[in-house]
């Protein structure tokens, strides 16, 4: 800023005059007019631009672009492979699921069949056992009845005996002479009647 106070010192030369003289910078290093239009510098700029563009072009076309293209292609390949693998796995998963469902259904059917068979088996055994038990019960009942009948018969005989004895004793006590045969016949007809 301080240098500008002396700007008036060279102010006598008009900027246009300096430009016409081919100078682009005043004595203080300030620009005269548009530096873009200064012909002195154009050769320098064009030369360095050409160098720069050639360098960038070779860096890009030899190294950078093929490398990035390779990276992108590789990534595309990886993604395609991964998607294919994922599709495969998905198909496998669906297959596995259907196999599992089938196995489950089979197992259910098996279980139902086994249950039915077992039920039938148990029913048969049960019927068997019931029949056996019935037969035993009826056998035992028959036996019991037979025994009861025997006992009853035995009891009747005993009653007859006791009655005969009692009748003979009574007849003897009455002073009669008991004919055993007659007493027995009489008792037997009474007991039966």
């Amino acid at each position: 800023m301080a240098t500008e106070t002396t700007a008036a010192a060279e102010g006598h030369v008009s900027p246009l005059g300096l430009e016409e003289a081919g100078k682009c910078v005043d004595s203080h290093g300030g620009a005269i007019g548009m530096p873009q239009l200064c012909p002195e510098w154009m050769g320098n700029q064009i030369f360095w631009l050409a160098v720069t563009l050639v360098v960038i072009f070779f860096v890009l076309s030899r190294v950078a672009l093929p490398r990035i293209a390779a990276i992108l292609a590789e990534r595309q390949g990886t993604i395609t492979n991964d998607i294919a693998a994922a599709e495969d796995l998905k198909v496998k998963a669906v297959e596995a699921e259907s196999a599992y469902n089938k196995a489950l259904a089979d197992a259910r059917a098996d279980a139902q069949r086994i249950i039915a068979e077992t039920k039938v088996g148990i029913k048969a055994e049960l019927d068997d056992a019931l029949a056996k038990a019935d037969a035993e019960i009826s056998a035992r009942t028959a036996e019991g009845e037979k025994k009861i009948a025997e006992i009853r018969a035995g009891a009747l005989e005993s009653v007859e005996d006791v009655a005969k004895d009692t009748a003979q004793a009574i007849v003897a006590a009455m002073g009669g002479k008991a004919d055993a045969k007659t007493v027995n016949a009489a008792v037997a007809s009474r007991v039966k009647g």
Binding site: M1, V25, P35, Q36, T52, F57, L60, L72
Partner: protein, 261 residues
């Protein structure tokens, strides 16, 4: 420009307006004249653009990772962006010219962005630079058109879709617009870069107002806000102008490859 400062003296301080000084080409070493091969600030900032290119597109991709690092994904973004642009605008048969367009795009992007660093020199703000770029595109495209299609390339000027009486008139307009292309192509880029940087410098010159008078309390914050806003705009412009330059190159390339409308 220096004369403007003479009127603004106040209380021993004055505002300094040198918006164009940032575009001066200087030798990097010593103080001699600027010859064709002198190492200048142009050399420095172009070299930095080359280094940035190498850093992003070569070193950034040296990992070659399938899952990219951040810098590698930026490099891939550049690649994919320009490649898609070439393919969409100029067609699949323009892909052999993709490295050429990529070179232009990368150089312009890095020059523009590096030029936004404070104190930097913006190589793409010079007509000499952008005119060479634009003329290179113009000559390449024109030569290629004639090599590929012979005189049939002139069909680019003959609008067969228009009614016959109109065609000669349209052809004249087409010829004129064809030769204006390199001019607009180069001035668009240089003008955008120069204007933005000069405006920032003008606003920056108002910033020390607070040291000069009470009005500076108002002007200084305003100028700083304006610098910030224009800087943001310039960041956008830096990319957009590189994009525009590249896409126009693709459009011209398409005309050369398919001259018949």
């Amino acid at each position: 420009m220096a004369t403007e400062t003479q009127d603004t003296a106040a209380q021993g301080m004055e505002l300094v307006f040198h918006p164009m000084d940032q575009f001066i080409v200087k030798p990097l070493f010593g103080d001699g004249p600027v010859g064709m091969f002198t190492v200048t600030n142009v050399t420095l900032w172009m070299a930095l653009a080359v280094l940035a290119t190498i850093g992003l597109l070569v070193l950034g991709t040296s990992g070659r990772s399938t899952i990219p690092t951040r810098i590698q994904s930026i490099a891939e973004l550049f690649y994919g962006f320009v490649r898609k642009m070439v393919e969409d605008v100029a067609g699949k048969d323009a892909l052999p010219y993709f490295p050429y367009i990529m070179t232009l795009f990368v150089f312009i992007v890095f020059s523009n962005v590096l030029g936004l660093l404070p104190g930097a020199f913006t190589t793409t703000s010079h007509i000499a630079v952008t005119a060479v770029l634009a003329m290179a595109v113009f000559l390449t495209v024109t030569l290629m058109g004639f090599i590929k299609h012979g005189l049939g390339f002139l069909g680019v000027f003959w609008i067969s879709a228009a009614p016959l009486p109109l065609r000669p008139i349209l052809a004249m307009i087409e010829v004129i617009s064809y030769f204006v292309r390199p001019v607009s192509h180069s001035i668009r880029l240089a003008g955008n870069m120069m204007a933005g940087h000069a405006v920032i410098k003008v606003f920056a010159a108002f910033a020390p107002m607070i040291l000069i008078g009470w009005i500076g309390v108002l002007v200084t914050p305003l100028s700083i806000i304006a610098i910030t806003a224009i800087y943001a705009l310039e960041v956008l412009v830096a990319f957009i102008q590189a994009y525009v330059f590249a896409i126009l190159t693709c459009v011209y390339l398409k005309d050369a490859l398919h001259p018949h409308h």
